[in-house]
Every structure is written in structure tokens, then in C-alpha cells.
């Protein structure tokens, strides 16, 4: 299959979902139920195309860095806006991830969303989302990336606020969109800095420009700033530390939406962007990214521990895992980061779909029991679902293991790789950098703890409420996606050796590109090993990259290889103790949760209220914005216009004293000058006393004044 055919296919893979969007928007009402089938089949077809592209790229064109093309979107006379699209290894893999999960979610929603009044609209919005996500995947320039970035934002707004009757849903949608927009603002500023210096949006031109040593405003800190700006876009989308507040609220949307968007694809877009432009980040930018990633991972892990809502726990776990991926990229673990992204996509989607099936079951049970007020998502109402929903339980258990990072699962491979990477990174950089691995390991431990807390409380033990007792397994279209995704979480798909992933095809395919930033501003340990055989895969020029063998790219890889086993032992130990703790507290109740809660009262409420971030933001940033806008609007309404009304009062007061007004119909005259003229006119008219002799006196006075005026 020639390159042209691949490029043609990649355009079709992009446009096919738009077809589903258009069909469902315009003919949705007529299709009704059928729109689900149409949507799912379109997505299946799309997945097939994506598979062929991925297969061809990874196999026949493995050595070619990127197959890409560019075309002119519009021209401004002297300057042409060039955009384009291309497939490189990580794009190919992402294509697979996005299309497969989207297809599975489409399948899942045929049942889950069944009976909803705006069923066709839901599929339309899913189609729009997939289209914009694929746009991000195949874009090879900043402008198109930004365009689809915003389109993804708007489709997530539409999907979160799908049940807009509920005010909380549309508020959540609005909150998501605005937080994303703040991130996009940073992203756009980053693009502006780069465009201004390198005059083009194309990645290859920008990277070539950086490689040639040309700095924005010719000082390197501006390149770091541009990097951080671009990263802000990722922070917005992937819900990193300061901008993470919208993801938990996004749970207002239907669960398949959460599964597709807020677990696997959209949130991963941020990580994908960082991976795509990894070569432009300077050392400081990378360490900034690392810190943000670690903080996110740690904070959201602590919050996830105390959540009671089934989906909220998963949401915070997603934020935490994203923190892991960003941290890994920040600490130079490019391949591990991306690897974790892919593996996380599968099992997190599975977790959410499982949650969906549980909630769906709870709904049916509540309908059955005519109890409409209890919350189907609250885990305290569940329990004992192991017996009533066997298949959901089994898949849920397996993917929880993967998430916790237990061997023989893909999660273990990727998380272990990251942890090893952080240890190596900290070792090489030293000093305060050790915080990162400490936080990483404790976050990993907490992940294991809260996942198993969830499984035990929800599935094990006796059903806590009648509703839980009446739940029963769902139909096939819900169970199949669960099974497929859990299978994909087996380690076997990524590397033969369950312990060490470096041998697998994944690590061969996803090779860390050589950073374009001049050596002076890079981490030295990321510099290519001049000793070892030259494996550099120069960014962007498409030279062939020799299959890895066991040569290390740079000192960091060498170091992380040393730390591999230590990291593995440590992570197993911590994960195991996390799981043990969870069983002790919830399964066998040796340590009563309430006493623990009481002892760490402060910490517990602090974590329960999501570290008061929402309140913090509301009281600071949003309150400040509202205050400024209210005062400016008041200022404009009263002061700028008010100069008129204010002075009108003053002059009217003076006016009334000096005599009855002419019935000035347009009283509030428009500006100060107008009022002054009106007022002075009032004074001048009093000269006209009507008495002829006073006239003559004034004339004589006039003559004298003129005379003196000109004599002196």
C-alpha cells in the first residue's frame, strides 16, 4: 500500500464520523432507534480503516518517521497559511485507540441510552467528538491542532450538558468549556510565539527552526515559555493540576460519554500533544511538566480515596493516571508515558463501562422497586454485586488489577516503566527532585488502595440495599465491550516478557525522538549517547531509524534500566500493601473505617471536599472576574454615562434656583458639554430683560469692554 493511499485513508478515517454526525442531526428523528445502529456501524467501518492504516504504518513503513502531506488553507497575498496531516507511529497507535474505544462506546450506548428522548442527537454528538479527536491525532501542524482542540472542547460541552434539563449538567458543561478555554488561551499564546519566530505552523518547520538555534524574541526563556504555553493547552484538556476541577463535574454527562471522553480519548489528547511536540521542550519546561504531573497524580489520588460516588472515584483516578503520564513525559520517559496512555485507555474505558453497566442495572432495579429518590451511583447503596453481575465483576476485577499495576497486566508494565523512569530521573538530577518518585510511589499505592476499596464495597459482601439485590447482568452489547477491553489489558499484547516491556514491539515502535532544542538548554542525560551506535532518529527529517536492539538512546534509559528491578520490587510492595489495607478495612473490617475517619478527621474532610479547590477558585479567580465585570458594567452604566446624569442633577439643581425651566423634554442630555451649554444658555438669556434701557446700558458696556479689551 503506497503512501498516497495511506494519506487518502487517513482523510477518510477523519471524515467518516462527520458522516454519522450529519446523518443523525438531519435525519435523526426519522431514524429513531436505527440511529444507534447507523452510528455503531459507521464507527466499526472507521475502526477497520484505522486498523489498516496503523498496520501498514507500523509494519511496512515502520522505519519511515512520518507519512505526511501539506496543503494551503488560505493565502494572505505575501503569506500562505499551510496546514496538513500526517501519520507517525504514535498517531497510528492513537488511531487504533480512539476508533476502537469509540466503536465500543457506540455499541455500549445502544443499550445504555436506550429510551432517551434525544437518542439520535447523542449519536450525532459522539460522531462529532470522534471526528474532532481524530483531527487532533492526524494533525501535523499547530493551527489544525488548535482548530480540532476547540472542536473537541465544544463536543465535550455538548455531551456533558446533554441532559440540559438539569441545571447542574449545563453548569458542568459550561465549567468544562471555560476551563478548557483558559488552557486554550495558553495554547494559543504558545502558538503565537512560535508562529511569530518561525513563520509557520508546521511542526517540522518549527522544530527545524528551533534546531537551527533561532529563539523567540531571541532569548531561550521565551522558548520555555512557549513550551509551557503549549503545555497549558494540554493541562486544560487533560485536567492537570490547576485546571483539573472540571473533570469530576463532567460526570454529570451520561456514563458512555465519561468512558469515551473523560477516560480514554479526550483527556489523553493533552498527553498526545506533549508527546507530539516533545522535541521542542527545554529542560526547564520538562521539569515544569514533571512537577505538574506529579502534583496532579498525588492530589487526585488522595481525593479519590474518600469519594462515595462510583464515577467520581474513577474520575479522580483518571486525573491521577494522567498525572502519571505527564510526569513520565516530564521526566524524559517518552515511551513509557505514551505506553501508559495506551494501556490506561483500555482499562479506564473498561472501568467506566463497567460502572455504566452497574449504574444501568441499579436504574432498572430502582424502576423495578419504584424508588426514584436514592442515588444509583452511590457505592454505599451497592454491595454484593459479585453474585448478581458475574461477568461485569470479573472484567471489573481484572482491569482493577491492571490499574493497580499487578504483574501479568499491561498496567504493571507501563506503570513500572514510569516509576523506574522517575527513580532514574531523580537520581540523575538529585536534590529536591527526589520528591517526584516519592509522590509517584505513594500515588501508586493509593491507587491500588482506592480501586480495591471500590471493588470490595461495590461488589463484595452482602448487598447493602434492596436495590442492589435486584440488580442482574446486562445484555450482551454491554458485556462484550467489557470483555474486549479487559483482554486488551493483558500484558501479552505489548511485550513477550511480562516483567520488562522494553523488549516488546511497542517500545520498538515508539522511540523517543531527539530533542531539537540546542544542547545548552537540554537535560544532559537526554543527550544522545555519542558512544553507542548512532540510533538517533533525527526529528522530522524522516531518516530511517534502526531497530532499537538493546542500545540505549541516552544515559537516562541506561540509568532507568538499572533501576528497573528496584522499582519493580518497590511498586509491588506498595501496591500489595495498598490492596491488603483495603481488604482489612472494608472486606474483613478489622480496622473500622469510621474510627480511621475520626482519627484523621481533618485530612478526611479535606480530601472529601476535593481539597476545597472549587471553593478556592470560586472565592478567588471567578469572584475576581465577576467583581471586575460587575464594577466595569456598573462603571459603564453609571459613570461614563453618568457624567451626564450626575452633572444633570447638579445643573438641574442650579437651574431650578435661577428660574422655571423651558420644558426641556429630553431632560437627561447626553454629555457634560451639552449640559454646560444648556446651563450657560440659561444664564445668557437673562440678559434679555425686555427693558429697552437695560439694553442700551449693555450696548454701552459692550462698547467700553471692546475698547478696553483692545487698548490694553
Amino acid at each position: 500500500m503506497t503512501q498516497e493511499v495511506i494519506l487518502f485513508l487517513s482523510i477518510t478515517v477523519l471524515l467518516v464520523p462527520i458522516l454519522s454526525f450529519l446523518i443523525n442531526i438531519f435525519f435523526g428523528d426519522r431514524l429513531g432507534k436505527l440511529s444507534g445502529v447507523v452510528g455503531t456501524s459507521i464507527l466499526a467501518f472507521d475502526f477497520l480503516i484505522a486498523a489498516t492504516i496503523a498496520f501498514n504504518k507500523l509494519v511496512t513503513y515502520a522505519d519511515l518517521h512520518i507519512i505526511q502531506t501539506k496543503f494551503e488553507w488560505f493565502s494572505l497575498g505575501s503569506f500562505k497559511v499551510i496546514v496538513g496531516y500526517g501519520i507517525d507511529n504514535i498517531a497510528a497507535i492513537m488511531l487504533l485507540v480512539v476508533t476502537l474505544i469509540s466503536f465500543l462506546v457506540h455499541l455500549f450506548s445502544t443499550i445504555y441510552m436506550d429510551g432517551d428522548r434525544r437518542f439520535p442527537k447523542f449519536y450525532a454528538y459522539l460522531g462529532l467528538f470522534t471526528f474532532s479527536m481524530l483531527g487532533i491525532v492526524i494533525a501535523n501542524n499547530f493551527l489544525m491542532m488548535y482548530v480540532f482542540w476547540e472542536l473537541v472542547g465544544i463536543s465535550s460541552y455538548l455531551l456533558i450538558g446533554f441532559w440540559y434539563e438539569k441545571n447542574s449538567a449545563s453548569n458542568a458543561g459550561k465549567k468544562a468549556f471555560i476551563t478548557n478555554r483558559i488552557g486554550d488561551l495558553g495554547f494559543f499564546i504558545g502558538i503565537m510565539i512560535l508562529f511569530m519566530t518561525y513563520g509557520s505552523f508546521m511542526f517540522e518547520d518549527v522544530f527545524a527552526g528551533i534546531a537551527s538555534g533561532q529563539m523567540p524574541f531571541n532569548n531561550p526563556t521565551m522558548l520555555t515559555l512557549a513550551g509551557i504555553g503549549i503545555f497549558m493547552g494540554a493541562m486544560g484538556k487533560s485536567a492537570q493540576f490547576p485546571l483539573h476541577v472540571w473533570l469530576p463535574d463532567a460526570m454529570e454527562g451520561p456514563t458512555p460519554v465519561s468512558a469515551l471522553i473523560h477516560a480514554a480519548t479526550m483527556v489523553a489528547a493533552g498527553v498526545y500533544l506533549v508527546a507530539k511536540v516533545f522535541v521542542m521542550f527545554t529542560a526547564d519546561a520538562l521539569s515544569f511538566i514533571a512537577i505538574i504531573g506529579t502534583l496532579t497524580a498525588f492530589i487526585s489520588a488522595t481525593i479519590a480515596i474518600t469519594q462515595v460516588d462510583f464515577k467520581k472515584v474513577l474520575a479522580y483516578s483518571t486525573v491521577s493516571q494522567l498525572g502519571f503520564m505527564i510526569m513520565s513525559l516530564g521526566t524524559g520517559g517518552y515511551t513509557n508515558g505514551f505506553f501508559h496512555l495506551v494501556t490506561h485507555a483500555w482499562f479506564k474505558a473498561a472501568l467506566f463501562l463497567a460502572a455504566g453497566s452497574v449504574i444501568h442495572a441499579m436504574h432498572h432495579a430502582m424502576h423495578h422497586m419504584h424508588d426514584h429518590h436514592s442515588d444509583p451511583q452511590d457505592i454505599n447503596n451497592m454491595g454484593g454485586l459479585r453474585k448478581t453481575m458475574p461477568w461485569t465483576y470479573r472484567t471489573f476485577l481484572f482491569v482493577t488489577l491492571a490499574l493497580a499495576g499487578i504483574p501479568f497486566t499491561s498496567g504493571f508494565l507501563s506503570k513500572d516503566g514510569i516509576l523506574a523512569g522517575t527513580l532514574a530521573w531523580a537520581n540523575l538530577t538529585g536534590g529536591w527532585h527526589w520528591i517526584v518518585p516519592v509522590m509517584a510511589f505513594s500515588a501508586a499505592g493509593m491507587t491500588a488502595f482506592y480501586m480495591f476499596r471500590l471493588t470490595i464495597v461495590a461488589f463484595h459482601g452482602e448487598p447493602k440495599t434492596e436495590i442492589a439485590r435486584h440488580t442482574h447482568e446486562n445484555k450482551l452489547p454491554i458485556v462484550i465491550p467489557l470483555v474486549v477491553l479487559s483482554i486488551l489489558s493483558i500484558w501479552f499484547f505489548y511485550a513477550p516478557n511480562p516483567i520488562d516491556a522494553t523488549g516488546g514491539w511497542f517500545h520498538k515502535m515508539v522511540v523517543q525522538p531527539q530533542s531539537a532544542v540546542p544542547a545548552a538548554y537540554q537535560w544532559d542525560f537526554l543527550l544522545p549517547e555519542n558512544g553507542g551506535h548512532d540510533v538517533i532518529q533525527a526529528a522530522g527529517h524522516g531518516e530511517t531509524a534502526q531497530a532499537g536492539g538493546h542500545g540505549y538512546l541516552n544515559k537516562l534509559q541506561e540509568e532507568s534500566h538499572h533501576f528497573h528491578y528496584i522499582a519493580m520490587a518497590l511498586s509491588l510492595l506498595i501496591a500489595g500493601s495498598g490492596i491488603l489495607l483495603a481488604f482489612l478495612i472494608y472486606q474483613y473490617k478489622y480496622i473500622s473505617a469510621d474510627k480511621l475517619e475520626a482519627r484523621f478527621k481533618g485530612l478526611h474532610t479535606f480530601s472529601l471536599n476535593k481539597w476545597y479547590f472549587d471553593e478556592l477558585y470560586n472565592s478567588t479567580v471567578i469572584a475576581f472576574m465577576m467583581l471586575v465585570s460587575k464594577s466595569l458594567a456598573w462603571f459603564d452604566g453609571t459613570v461614563v454615562d453618568g457624567i451626564v446624569n450626575l452633572s444633570a442633577q447638579v445643573t438641574r439643581f442650579a437651574g431650578y434656583i435661577t428660574g422655571i425651566f423651558d420644558n426641556v423634554v429630553i431632560d437627561g442630555f447626553v454629555n457634560l458639554v451639552a449640559r454646560v451649554t444648556e446651563y450657560s444658555g440659561g444664564q445668557l438669556r437673562k440678559l434679555q430683560t425686555g427693558n429697552i434701557q437695560s439694553y442700551i446700558v449693555f450696548v454701552l458696556a459692550g462698547i467700553l469692554l471692546l475698547l478696553f479689551f483692545f487698548i490694553l
Binding site: 423651558d662 420644558n663 423634554v665 429630553i666 451639552a674 451649554t677 444648556e678 450657560s680 444658555g681 440659561g682 445668557l684 438669556r685 440678559l687 434679555q688 425686555g690 429697552i692 439694553y695 442700551i696 449693555f698 450696548v699 458696556a701 459692550g702 462698547i703 469692554l705 471692546l706 475698547l707 479689551f709 483692545f710 487698548i711
Partner: protein
Amino acid sequence: MTDISQFTGELLKSMGLFLPETTLIITFLVAIMADLISGKKHFAGYVVMAGLLVTAFFLMRQTGIESASFAGLLVIDPFGQFIKFIVLITTLLVIMFSFISKELHHSHAKLGEYYILMTGMVIGMFLLASSANLIMIYIAIETMSISSYILAGYTKEVKRSTEASLKYVIFGAVSSGIMLYGMSILFGLTGSLSLLEINTFLMNNSVESITLLLSGIMILAGFGYKISAVPFHFWTPDVYEGSPITITALLSVASKAAGFAVILRFFKVVFSAGLGSENVAWSIIGSIDWHFVIAVLAVLTMTLGNLVALWQTNMKRMLAYSSIAHAGYMLMAVAVLDNTGVAAVLIYFFMYMIMNLGAFLVVQLVADKLDSESIDIFNGLGYRSPLIAAVFTLFLISLTGLPPTAGFIGKLYVFSSVVNAGYLWLAVIGVLNSVISLYYYVRVIRNMYLRDIESTQPKLTFSVSALALVMLLAIPTLILGLYFSPVIEWANASIAIFTGH
């Protein structure tokens, strides 16, 4: 002793040049006779109209002549001719207004004296427009004033009218008294009454500037009274409100035109050392900066006229103040004291004549129909008589000076001459004044259209002759706004003020 035969030859030549005025005098006398013999109300009016038309004919034949006559008392030149045409046209129109004015019908059986006195006034204006001798100016102003005192008080039975004439007579007499005293001082200084000789005297020997300034300002008081410039304007609002509306129209245009003519001639002939009339700028002799004096007068007149007009509730009084403001705009052009200024005054005057007479005519028609002159009677006029309202809007917009109308061209030329002479501060004040003026003109439009929309009151219908007269004035206001080169060419041709060299 001048030799008698040489004198008679010169007299005959002068008489030849005096033809328009002679026809006027004949019409004056014939009108008196006609009024005695005929019974009809307006017979004298028709006679006078005929007389005026004949005068126009003779005036036409005088184009291009530039010479002194009657031993320097009178000067026949294109400038005088232009002003005389304006006076003629205004008087003809005012006579037509009087035919359809209800106000005059109520007052008297026969309007004989009305038309006779109007002819007297026209004679006075003609003389003033072309007199080049101090005493001749005084006599011309007196003729004009006396006839207008009486015309102002013509509707005797109306209290307001008599009060107007009393104020007018006292104010007029005092002003001309002061002017005369100023003239006597100037005569003392230069030893001659003729403007040309005064000029030659001032050119050759230097004179105390204080005395010259004193006499100049006192004379300016007399002229200022005629064009109602501030601070000599006090009579205008009361007299315009009191006297019949046709006379107000006549006063606001014709007597102002004569006033401006004498000011321009006085300053050009007496104070400018310009050799001929070809070079544009007049170099002013003597140490007094007359530019600044007139500029101050212009600013005072414009600003007071516009500011006080904001407060008026009576339509005639508002138009009085608006005419003061327009006098101010024209004074701006006079203050520049050069050829472009003169041209600007002439052009502005022609446009002012059309739009001002149009506005007065509409007010007359509406006031006659609704028996009141307050601004509020115009409420809902837009819907009660669409044509008259539309035409009145056109006149008001033209008075404000908005583009597609003649008023804009007038203002354009005045500002152009002021800017060209470098008086930017004066132009800015003028421009601000026209923004202020927008407010009280648009207030009338607002009453007409924005009030009492689709009003239920009965539709107002006007006689065909009234409508024809209105259109006669409305069409040029619009046409001249777009195609105005004939007026400019005529104005340019009549720049030449005879300075006797």
C-alpha cells in the same frame, strides 16, 4: 467752484448709473398714488412688485461696471450689485408672503402703506449697499431704519407689535446716534467724509490708534445694530417676536445683507491698503488688529445666538436667535478680511436667504393655521401635513448645515476661508457652534415626527399658492446643496469692491 458744465456732464453720467434706484423711487411715488385711487387691498403690492422687477432688469444691465458716481457719494460695483439682487429677491418673496399672510389681513382694510414703506426700505438698502460716504451711509441707514420701525409696529392693534416698534425706535435711534458721533470723530481725524479720501489720508499719515479705534468701534456699533451682532443684538428677539412675521423675515435677511455690505465696504475701502481688488489678502493699515476685533464679535454672536436659542419655546424668537447665530457665522468670514472671506459671505448669504425665508414661510403658514407660534404646535405635524413637514425638515437641516443641503455649502465656504487664513481656533468654535445648533433645530423635527405618531388630529391643508411658494424655496435648498457652482461663480464675479484707484 466746480465748473457748472463739467458738473452737469458728470451728473448725467451718474444719473445713467443710478437707473435702478430711480425706478425704485418712481415705484415709491406711483405706489403712493396707486394706494390713493384703488380700493383693493393688495393693489399697491402688485405695483411695487412690478417696480421691483423693472429695477431688477436695470440692475442686470449694470453687471461689470465699476465706478464712483455722484462725486464719490455712491459706488457702483459688482459687490453692491450682488447685495442689491439679494435685497430685491428677498423683498419680492416677502411681498408674496404678505399676499397670503392671514396676520396682515386681520389688521387693516388696505395694506397700501405697508408696501410703500417696504419700497422706502428697499431704497434705503440700495443706497446703503453702494454708499461710499459717511453721511450717505447715515442717511441710508436712517431711511432703512425709519421705514422698518413703522413696519415693525404695523399691526397697530396688537400690543406686542407696538412694543416692538418702540424698542426698535429707541434702540435704533441710540445706535445711529452713537454711530454718528463715531463718524464725527473719524471726520475730525481725517478731515473728509468720503471713504476713499479717508483711506488715502490714513495711508499717508499716521493717526493715534486709540482715537481711530474709538471711532471705529462706535461706527461698528451702528453697523452691528443693523446685522444684530452681539452686544448690539438686544433688540432682535423682541422685535422679531413682536412684528408681523413677514417683516421679521424681511429684517432677518434684507437689512442684514445691507448691514454686511456696508461693513465689508467700510473695512475694505477705509482700512485696507490693497491696491486693486486682485490680490486676495488685504493688508490692514494702522496698528489695530481689526481681524481680532471682528473675530471676537463673531464668536460672541455665534455662541450667544446658539446658546440662548436652546431655551426658546416661541418659534419666531427661536428663529431670531438662529439668525443672530448665522450673523455670527458670516462675521467669521468677515473677520478674515480678504477676498475669500467676502466670497464666503456672499455665498453664505445667498444660501441663508433661501433657507431662512423658507423657514419663516413655513412658520407663517403653520402659525396662521393653528393661531400660535409655540414650538409645541408642531407636534405630529409630520403626519398631519407630510409635505410641509418634510420641507420644514429640509430647511432646518439646511440651517444646521448638514451636507446635502445649501446651508452646508455656505458653511463649507465660510470654514474654508477661515481655515485657509489660518484661524483654526475660530473654525473650531464655529464647528462646535453648529453642533449646538443641531440640538434646537432637531428638537423641532422631533416634535414633528417623534411626537404624537400617526396623530388623530385633522390633516392640515394649505392653499396651492402657499405650497407653490414653499416649493419655490425648497427646491433650490436641495439643488444648491448638490450643484452649487453657478452661485460660486456669481459670488466670485462680485468680489470686486471699488476702492477708487
